[in-house]
Subunit: 155 residues, 2 copies
């Protein structure tokens, strides 16, 4: 396996609206996607797009690692436990891209890494799975198939 | 202020050697910098360089958001408290670039954000400061001046 792009860092928040205001008004983000619900995970998410260059020719770019803001939809949300321990929110997971999700899943299984549940469609519309933080240096780690050029992944 | 590049995520580890082996052997990283000591912070650090594209033309690139691995140098290290709570290590901070550290410091101060200590030289050789996690959505946040093209920042 070859290390893929750090697609996003997942950041839990008790209020996605407050977090959007923070990234816009305090940090100066100009490119934040519209929040949407993922009911099967019990979360509402949106993405703060970050630039690949801080200084330079002034051309706009937002192809850097994203910040995924994650708010619980209800009491059964997968992030309720995290927010109980971190009421202000905080860094919840990291997500790396791979070219092929099945090959990656098999590779992590072969290395004895615990995979949390089945492969499913993630917030970018491509297949993803999560790895147990205790097998990943203390970090909940998402593995995501790179979106195909020109559009969404489809089967 | 305009959102800058997500330069790196800081990841605490009880053993930088073990973490390097993890990123190399499990995640497939091919570009990891040599660890070096920062005695004034009580830490040893190195950087895992990540690609900006996972798939594509096969050209090598490593200009993505870095993973900064941080191991304590001694019992007084700034990350001992974090590791006491997270013995396996984990996500410790995030670091965004700004074009001018003094302007950024003044802007955060004007917004009432608590700054932790003086501006100092960080692991990339450019000036940095840290913001209190309680003022930053639960995340310890480092602000770093973008390295000048062609070399290190100098005064």
């Amino acid at each position: 396996m070859k290390l893929g792009r750090l697609n996003h860092i997942g950041v839990a928040t008790p209020s996605i609206a407050d977090s959007i205001a923070h990234y816009r008004d305090v940090m100066g983000a100009t490119d934040i996607t519209e929040p949407f619900d993922m009911p099967e995970q019990g979360v509402k998410v949106c993405f703060v797009n970050t630039p690949t260059h801080s200084t330079g020719s002034g051309h706009s770019d937002s192809g850097g690692t994203q910040i995924e803001l994650i708010e619980p939809l209800d009491e059964n949300s997968t992030i309720m436990g995290f927010l109980a321990k971190n009421p202000l929110g905080g860094q919840h997971h990291v997500c790396f891209e791979v070219p092929d999700i099945e090959i990656a899943r098999e590779a992590f299984e072969d290395m004895g890494k615990r995979i949390l549940g089945p492969t499913r469609i993630g917030a970018h519309g491509t297949p993803i799975f999560f790895l147990h933080p205790k097998d990943m240096q203390g970090m909940l780690t998402e593995i995501m198939e790179t979106p195909r050029e020109g559009g969404h992944w489809s089967n």
